[in-house]
Symmetry: C2
Subunit: 444 residues, 2 copies
Amino acid sequence: MVVGGDAAGMSAATQARRLRTAAELQITVLEQGHDVSFSACGIPYWVGGQVAGRNELIARTPAEFAAQDISVHTGTRAAGIDLAAGAVVTEHGTRFGYDTLVIGTGGRPTRPPIPGLDAPGVFGVHRLEDGAAIRTAIDAGARTGLVLGGGYIGLEMAEALLARGLAVTVVLADPLPMQLLDADMGERVCAGLRAMGIVVHTDSAVREVLLDGDGRACGVRTDGASYEADLVVLGLGMGPEVTLAADAGLALGVTGAIDVDRSQRCRDHPEVFAAGDCAQTFHRVSGEVAHVPLGTHANKQGRVAGSVIGGRPARFAGVLGTAVTKVGDLEVGRTGLCTTQAEEAGFAYRTDVIEATTRAGYFPGAEDVAVKLVSERGSGHLLGAQVVGGPGSAKRIDVLATAIWAGMTAEDLAGSDLSYAPPFSPVYDPVAVAARAVSRTEQG
Amino acid sequence: MVVGGDAAGMSAATQARRLRTAAELQITVLEQGHDVSFSACGIPYWVGGQVAGRNELIARTPAEFAAQDISVHTGTRAAGIDLAAGAVVTEHGTRFGYDTLVIGTGGRPTRPPIPGLDAPGVFGVHRLEDGAAIRTAIDAGARTGLVLGGGYIGLEMAEALLARGLAVTVVLADPLPMQLLDADMGERVCAGLRAMGIVVHTDSAVREVLLDGDGRACGVRTDGASYEADLVVLGLGMGPEVTLAADAGLALGVTGAIDVDRSQRCRDHPEVFAAGDCAQTFHRVSGEVAHVPLGTHANKQGRVAGSVIGGRPARFAGVLGTAVTKVGDLEVGRTGLCTTQAEEAGFAYRTDVIEATTRAGYFPGAEDVAVKLVSERGSGHLLGAQVVGGPGSAKRIDVLATAIWAGMTAEDLAGSDLSYAPPFSPVYDPVAVAARAVSRTEQG
């Protein structure tokens, strides 16, 4: 039995089915929405018009899962879990018994208690229906858009609205966008946004959503100003959706997400697994518990749960919080600990920032790229990395994520054998240049 | 004293200067050509017209080095090394005494004993003069080009000639281009070349260069056929240029390149260093000696020599032979051991090939990419990797190179935290998909 038919839940179902036949294991998925296995990360690109249709965002339909003997009930909201009896109860009172349960209820978009936030004209970016609603608003003539929040989703929605010809304003409570970047790198992002015509108001907590005579959102008010717009998009981050688990009495961790062991198992209820945005996880570098809602983790955690359920031992290996995004030609990548996180985790760290180009300096299309490394003083171990630059920058974060994953030092990475050809990088890749900057000074 | 003013030599000079002032260490570089510190790898792009001028390929001029108190003598060919006296003698008899010598004589393009190979109309791709000569021939009206050899340089020159509007034929003695790829991946490259209109003749050793009435190359003859062309370009690979070292009595290794220890020092002559294409090195995975002429290695080995000379211990960490190239929209990357190399090194290995896309399948510009992994049976350690695909494919080899460098297993990599966003990759990056394919079957 799986509750929640998105990345984590469907990965668990699919992996368990790979290992166990329908005769051995019956798999049922309850999903409150209309779609399973869809790409929430693709919504901004559907809104922006780069992806043609909503169906393209649906990786697999319930019918395709049915062909694998995975029974999916869409439009079926689980209202309660009866742990003692081993059953999930739907909002309409139907009981589904289970031997093993996977909770994949996902994330809940952060909705601070701001008056007017529930008004029509204020849009989330969570379900395909949200994307459809924004598209409808744009098609109906919206010319100006306000995005609240400056994380990945906020910035991707800003790009999407810009692509559709709207005048876009981003309003942030924080001093800079992308709080998982250090301030110096966040400033580069902020400057990039402004250079492409996006108005960015920082240090501007929204106090109220302004409503027109019809009760529809027409702007927001901060302490210092009011901003009008035809539509308001929420990109205020994501918390864990744990209502069902908490009501059932499953333990939550300090992050507020469901507490699980490394096999994604609830500690007091070994027959219950949780995976994805609703589950607590741990950081590979700090070893500390963490809640990092990203589709990549959800997929992998779901697979771990599915493997264990299918009879093959598996353990989730932790997260670095590796992520990439783009806004127009500005690309951003980050992995591991930023300085705030390194500080909190008690590391003695140093930072190095280098500027380089994505291709040989003389090659057409060579773009500026800045690479920042956070490394442990003394040992030289890489703790985290951030990349901001033009096209070709972001995916370089994967090299740094791999190096951090493997426990490499900056000196190891500086000496490693990365590829070079003029259309692809300078003779020393920007990643290696950054690693050299650390290792050179660390050696004195 | 440095002999050879290209990547290895100038890296050694620059690094030594960083660590020692002009008062502490006098640095003199002898270079037989007119340029130092130029990008030989950029020549195809200059010929192809993507890079505007030859000066763009020159990273630094002798005057710029002089400003760093590095004295460069261009047009000065070293004719002999007097190891006993510690002196280099030029072809005109001038003696330069040294306390420490760095040999960076580079590579020598392979020139098999084919009649006519020295005729006008046959071009190397080694010095900037070679590029200039090919450009002149094209500007003078060449309409057809023959490229001999299917390695990086050969294929990049094929692209360059195609870009200039020539009809291009590649003639290979080998059964496939890119001998450092496995046959199945080489076939993908071969198919890609043909799809873009390049004629490829494989298993076709050239027996003779055909000459016109003026003694100028006008084609080649293989055992089975003759091919006419206005110009012939040599891309037959690169051996070590060791004449000077061998004549002086310095030991060569089994690869034919100068034998050095991990500090780039000649074992019997600790006052002499060698770095770059003229020096033997070792493979990081197999531990075996190797000769892998690439600019990346030359730069790093030069730095190691310069560090040691400057008084800071340093060791070269080995090569994986990581390399990338492109021909039109076809991108190729490779690192570590291909199956032939794994076999020779005595590994029990397995191979896995997966096909994926460079971006989310629904995202515009998603291109097919194939990833092949060579891994050790039992341990699952990654030994080598190859990537062939559309734009966005090649640089993914750096993630695999980093994983191999760090000694990761396929399972480690499959669990690692690589980035995802629809414009950059599917939710599981192709690299992770390949690693999963290994780890899944390796587990049974």
